[in-house]
Symmetry: C2
Subunit: 474 residues, 2 copies
Amino acid sequence: MTLNPADPDFIAHLHQLLPGAAFREVEPKYLEEPRGRWIGQAGVVVAPATVDEVATVITAASKARVGVVPYGGGTGLVGGQILSDGSAPVLLSLERMRAIRGIYPDENVMVVEAGAILADIHAAAAEVNRLFPLTIAAKGSARIGGNLATNAGGVNVLRYGNARDLCLGLEAVLPSGEVWHGLKRLRKDNAGYDLKNLMIGSEGTLGVITAATLKLYPRPATEGTALIVVNSPEAALALLARARDHLGEAVSAFELMHRTGLEFLAETLPDLRLPFADLPEWFVLIDVGLARGLDPQASLGALFADAHEAGLVSDGMIAQSEAQRQQFWEVRENIPEGNRRIGSISSHDISVPIGAIPDFIIRGNKVIAALGAFRINCFGHLGDGNLHYNIFPPKGQSREAHVEKREAIKRAVHDLVHQMGGSVSAEHGVGRLKVEDLERYGDPVKMSAMRAIKAALDPKSIMNPGAVLRDPSD
Amino acid sequence: MTLNPADPDFIAHLHQLLPGAAFREVEPKYLEEPRGRWIGQAGVVVAPATVDEVATVITAASKARVGVVPYGGGTGLVGGQILSDGSAPVLLSLERMRAIRGIYPDENVMVVEAGAILADIHAAAAEVNRLFPLTIAAKGSARIGGNLATNAGGVNVLRYGNARDLCLGLEAVLPSGEVWHGLKRLRKDNAGYDLKNLMIGSEGTLGVITAATLKLYPRPATEGTALIVVNSPEAALALLARARDHLGEAVSAFELMHRTGLEFLAETLPDLRLPFADLPEWFVLIDVGLARGLDPQASLGALFADAHEAGLVSDGMIAQSEAQRQQFWEVRENIPEGNRRIGSISSHDISVPIGAIPDFIIRGNKVIAALGAFRINCFGHLGDGNLHYNIFPPKGQSREAHVEKREAIKRAVHDLVHQMGGSVSAEHGVGRLKVEDLERYGDPVKMSAMRAIKAALDPKSIMNPGAVLRDPSD
């Protein structure tokens, strides 16, 4: 059965149920997404101030069979926040639920509402000398509810895990409109099925996260960063193993980058100072956070010396100051912006078993070469087996000239990833962009379990219709 | 609709489907559990050798509406492996699926079958210089499938997490008899709902785990252990915070113990050498695993000096040898055996927010004192907010003389835990022992979501009937 639109009658009904402050103009910012692939639609934008108001919206939508699209910071890259066709939904923005409900430094715990911006959570943790380690490029506008709904990743997963690993409890409104009060501050709780992890990563299709209990960490006593030129992706992998032998969990980021990324930065962001005289083919950024009694420069120096003796690395720089650490990180953090300015034909957020990364890079390059003389910018979270494998037109040519190859490129890359036991959605989620990929590559038994769970918890299919799973009425 | 028994006709049918080697005698060992509370029943015991044979059993049971009780090492403490009433089920033992399917030291990954014994997994990891950190007292007989099905905890959760945090993927047979192939070796995979974590901790009620991809860790360069006498539970908590400030994630265990535990050991295991001349009221065992360049004795010494100056601790011993480390750990590891020999009236596996532990201990003691002059042995994983809070008869009296108080004691302790935002099942699971507790204390919206998920994935309710959730036909 198809959903009904959020039409004037339904909107008038919502106005009876919610205070005027809960309504927002249907502005373009709610209907656009970062890559400009789709334009969304909405009958009404509501921004509830409390979990009870969220429950009121969902209950009304359920009764009227109107779709609900939850909306965090709008920074998702797979269209999970954008419904571009079908009946106009309610767009439910968490922007007014930004409170930090409690901080418990002794427990390394913080309780926040879903609309809190990631960077504000970082700052609140820092104020009590703690660390909330989840961090992504969009941290200045992404909201924690969206980070959890999509199980966001980022550069610190190697040490601290994905968003799901940093969450102890949730408050959420289920598709029935009922509120699940699951904000416990417990490290161990084996009382029943893991509804928390089912909600995390379900991208708003099983309910709306309204608040979360987050794990904090002690801040490392000292931090250090190095940029190291590696002889090959295989050497990078061997360097990672040595880094963990030397430093254990202290390795908080291990990012692989390619010369193409530096060339794009030189071309599109000429004011950015690149820390290399000659651009290396492959290099890594290593970030460490150490316990008391260890010196980051000495530790990274010992690691470099060891790796150099083993023939893995040819050159390297260890940051001598916090300003230099920032400079090294700026290289990494600007690579997506350089990509955006060049304009990719097709971008892929893939993972493979860590040991298969070098082979994937060799085979991927062959697969792409067979389709044309494209440029490849391959970079990402080597320590997690997660690469951003993005394909660009030859130098001097436009993306538009090659856009008809997009599907063939994507299919070739995803087929290879699937053959190698990988995932075509490593950290960005499925959204609406990858629904077909999930149908093609997903385990059929898991897919049928997912559909059964969706039907059981959201029998009217109102929650974020068409995201993750195809709308059954389509 | 009630289930059918595994009767001679059904058993004859299974004999047509499976090789003779898959059948086991219905021996008492399959029907007993460690605390001797229940005796189980089974129409037939099958021990398949492959996932396809497991699927054959489940498919047949589904068609015939016969219950299936998955069986690992039989070490669970909440009766999840024991069906003592209702129609006789198939007992499905994973004991023949013990293979280690692959080890990938460079990826810190191991793929094992569900019947592998935890201690054998430890040994296999050690052979490639890696650590599988999950460890519990029953490690010599517990099987990893059961550890995952119950989301086992243990002494290293503080640093490495529960069983679910150590699992990257699963192979499982769902209640339909279909096989979910989810053994990916990926650190990041956001392709759809988190079926893995839904299966983990569902105690065999949503399917049978047949294999798992496990996370390994680098072995710490050096390890150290201290026993430290703390002035109070509050001081123990402050010591934990200081330990993490000094040592970061290197603190791998932080166990609180009480004099009662030592008195029980002196009484029941007189050959065990206790490392204290005068028995302290409260003390902790701290275990650390350090990166290169740090000395465990020096680090623990600095921590002790700091805590002593702050007035938190009065005495302490730092292990000077591996033999002494083992001796310190033996105290901790024998406490459950001492308890068993004394004989508890009621045992409680509870968690509260870490910061609430001292208050819980004060209020718990008052609650128990109001019920009688009982002895309390309170000990456990302070760093996880998880205490084993066990109640014993007064000295010289038998458990039997007080067994009629068991329900009142349990109710009083669990009511208090619930009031304090805690969990009445921290690490042992729900099984059949705590079904009523879950109904009493569980969030009703979560409970109804759980029932909907169970009905969606196991519409005939054949999987581990009556565990976690009451059988709908009851």
